[in-house]
């Protein structure tokens, strides 16, 4: 892209108007202002795309196999482990990492921290896509995916935790669509539609907090249905929902840090001046928030062990594993966060954020798969299940990238042609 | 009936009697040699019980509880029937209902205070009595050692495609 921009000085498209003052066509906007052949050349040059091709080349046929021959064709079809990687990673892992939307929405819109504004849209998009793909994972995992809307329209089980999850995720998904719509309206050249959303923004934000609190918590509470199956260290009847909610806070913040890092590192040409200039400051700020959430999380984890009087379990093999999960997945990144914040070292913070994400996903996989049925045997997922999980994640990555390339997520949409130099840093010298 | 009691009193021998309802008519005359149990032939053919052989080897009370007038070997029955005289009908089916259907565990008219609250149906009674003893005494215990499948039974047990064993 960087090389192409030197040939096309108008790149990247950052507003409605071409340099000559006429409007960009939708097709041009989709191709990032390149011609089709330039665009294809650009796609082929990127090695990441070849890796994606390999993943999808095997993954998409597997997906077809799943829908033609049933879940049993791509998984072990275990009755003892009804939930596999699709839910263990896709739902329980993706949702906490997508808490970023409501967190930054709250910070900016509700608490008026305008200094985090440049990253708000990225956080909202990260939230929207995470939830959307959690639903995609769910659609692959559900026995009857065509009945996804049944709990909303056909038959109600309102006392079930999953009922809350379904309703809240569905409502929250619409909230997030509404929150990301302004960027889309700008991009398609209908900025006045934004006003409708803007009027609702406080309501949307508060709805976001409520719904997020409840469904992040509800995902944890789902495991309280299995008090005899899940290892007691990973299950706290009283605090499970707080554990899940609290870890979603730092998981979501870490995800935004990592996502923004990848964006500033690999697509600096897309980043607006405000985003580029304030990202270091914002990253440190996010890290501060994340480390506070981590301290809280550790405290409640400790309270849970004390409450259920499980101290002696800590000395068993499971206990060491539990301590390893907390130590490597939470304490270690928390300390790096603290050091990074103290030294204002963005690099350290970004590294810690990466570990945090792994830590959160590790916790969810432990809860859903590894420590589940701890008295039975360990189910090892079928390779096809693993590959499909990666495939869906690749689709998530592609959609994420597709949108960040085009929509004004990390830059401000220019309504006039002249604002280029104001909005963008001098990326040709290799920002980031 | 008098003949029976005299028989016991004089000879002091165990009293042979019968099991099956199918043979209910014969009891007050003499002790059956064989009893053919076929009241519920469906999955299995009927079974011939060598009554004389069992009577030679075991006390009446080991199978018949208290009904033959002999002292019951079952402590549970002995609560009330330690000294009960012989019954008119000693066949199993005279007490244990053939219909093992619903609610047989608490027959109408009997309250929970009666010991017969937990009386097995006929099929259960026969199997519990036979199999329990067979296990202790080394008798046959496999299903097919006593029961031959009917074709319906072979189908039920998913045996129909397999070569028939002799």
């Amino acid at each position: 892209m960087r090389t192409l921009t030197s040939e096309n000085i108008h790149l990247p498209i950052h507003g409605s108007l071409q340099p000559d003052g006429s409007l960009w066509s939708l097709g041009k906007k989709l191709l990032l202002g390149l011609t089709l052949s330039q665009y294809c050349k650009q796609v082929c040059r990127n090695p990441v795309n070849w890796a994606l091709l390999v993943i999808l080349g095997i993954g998409l046929p597997l997906l077809i196999q799943r829908y033609m021959f049933g879940l049993g064709a791509v998984t072990h079809g275990s009755n003892d482990y009804p939930w596999g990687l699709f839910l263990g990673f896709g739902l329980f892992g993706m949702v906490p990492l997508s808490a970023s939307g409501f967190l930054l929405g709250t910070t900016v819109s509700l608490f008026g921290r305008e200094d985090f504004h440049p990253i708000e849209r990225l956080a909202l998009l990260n939230g929207l896509l995470g939830y959307f793909f959690a639903v995609v994972y769910l659609e692959v995992d559900l026995g009857m995916p065509w009945r996804l809307a049944y709990p909303m329209v056909v038959s109600f089980g309102p006392a079930a935790v999953l009922f809350l999850v379904a309703w809240h995720v569905a409502t929250y998904l619409s909230v997030q669509v509404a929150e990301v719509l302004p960027a889309f309206f700008e991009w398609i050249g209908r900025p006045n539609l934004k006003l409708y959303i803007k009027r609702m923004s406080l309501g949307l934000t508060i709805a976001g907090i409520i719904l997020s609190t409840l469904h992040q918590g509800a995902l944890g509470a789902l495991f309280t249905y299995a008090p005899t199956k899940l290892h007691p260290l990973w299950l706290s009847i009283e605090f499970q929902w707080i554990h899940f909610l609290c870890s979603a806070v730092f998981g979501g913040l870490a995800m935004v840090i990592v996502s923004s890092t990848l964006i500033i590192r690999f697509i600096p040409w897309r980043c607006g001046r405000a985003f580029t200039n304030s990202l270091d400051y914002i990253t440190i700020g996010l890290a501060k928030g994340a480390s506070y959430a981590m301290v809280t999380y550790l405290a409640i984890k400790l309270v849970a062990v004390a409450h259920d009087n499980e101290w002696e379990l800590l000395l068993t093999g499971w206990g060491f594993y539990y301590l390893a999960e907390l130590g490597l997945g939470v304490v270690l990144p928390m300390m790096i966060f603290a050091k990074g914040v103290h030294d204002e070292s963005v690099g350290a913070v970004r590294f810690a954020a990466f570990i945090t994400i792994i830590g959160v996903v590790w916790n969810r996989l432990n809860t859903a798969l590894y420590c589940f049925n701890y008295q039975l045997y360990q189910e090892v997922p079928h390779w096809k299940e693993l590959w499909l999980t990666v495939t869906l994640y690749a689709l998530y990555f592609m959609m994420y990238r597709f949108i960040v390339y085009r929509l004004p997520i990390v830059f401000n949409w220019g309504e006039s042609a002249s604002s280029e130099k104001e909005c963008f840093p001098d990326y040709s010298q290799g920002a980031g | 009936m008098k003949l029976w009691s005299t028989y016991i009193l004089i000879f002091g021998l165990p009293l042979w009697t019968m099991v099956s309802s199918a043979y209910a008519g014969a009891i007050d005359v003499d002790i059956p040699e064989n009893i053919f149990i076929d009241y519920m032939v469906e999955l299995y053919e009927g079974v011939t019980l060598d009554h004389a052989m069992h009577a030679d080897l075991f006390d009446c009370g080991s199978c018949h509880h208290h009904t033959t007038g002999a002292r019951s070997l079952n402590d549970f029955c002995a609560h009330c029937h330690a000294d009960s005289p012989a019954s008119d009908d000693v066949s199993c089916s005279s007490c244990h209902e053939k219909n093992t259907g619903a609610f047989h565990c608490l027959p109408a008219g009997e309250t929970a205070s009666v010991y017969h609250i937990d009386k097995p149906g006929l099929k259960g009674a026969l199997h519990l009595q036979c199999l329990g003893c067979h296990r202790d005494e080394g008798g046959p215990t496999g299903c097919q050692e006593c029961h031959a499948f009917t074709s319906k039974g072979r189908k039920r047990f998913a045996l129909e495609d397999l070569p028939r064993k002799n």
Partner: protein, 311 residues
Amino acid sequence: MAENTSRRTILKSSLAATMATLFFHVKPGTAHQVKKYPDSLGVLVDLTRCVGCRSCEAACNAEQGLPKPDKPFTDDSVFAQRHHGQKRRTDETCYTVVNRYNPPGIEHPLYRKVQCNHCQEPACLSSCFVNAYTKTPEGAVIYNPDVCVGCRTCMVACPFYIPTFKYSSAFAPRILKCVFCYETRLKKGQPPACVEACPQQALTFGKRDNLIKIGRRRIDEKKGRYVHHIYGEYEVGGTSWLYLSSVPFEEVGMNTDLPHQPILDSVKNFLGIVPMVLTIWPALFAGFHLLASRKEYAGSTQDYHDKEESQ
């Protein structure tokens, strides 16, 4: 975004949120006692009687129209089958299985039949978000495939590992489990097929209340024959199927760590906070917002209202 918010919009959105609460969350937390099913029927399984003939399995297979098994029901080798080191369990081809155990101290093996225990307060039912399960007054826990979405939470929730999923089907998968022969028999007051088939009367069918009396009676009368416990009388709130055993229940593969409260009880903690979050959060965070943005307001109230009026 924040500067466009007036008190009126806050009120409006709070009101909207409250309405949403009223309409969307009919009954999130139902902290009820274990329902009494006074006429509940049940089955008392006496492990001391079972001889492992698998007649119940064969009867269930015929009654429920299940696929023909790989091995005939007379084949004893299934008792040695292991899957991941586990004895057989229910799956999409069988709603009940009999397993063999060799507890220490007794010379002959014991057999235990596994099937749905038809809980008084079923975890599958309370975890189902489309209400696919029903506990009938007769005591059966039945399932409606027409509304099931296939999320398999019931399988996660069942403490007995009973519901199974038809993984082999892409277009008509469903949950499969023992339904107490509800449609074909129980409704008419008849015992389920397995009970009728049992030669040993190891399975006794009757009113649950009576079965408990019978169970206690057997324990009392046959001194030393049984362990002093009816499994299912209290486990997870009580089950319609009850077990008697001559050895401690864990030696015949039964989970003796189950709580005596229904599984739903452990979920109530969370369900209880839902209405609170729904009602308190909007006010709380709207309040935070007002606090956080008060300065802005003070400065810009006049401009703001002018702007609003001119629109």
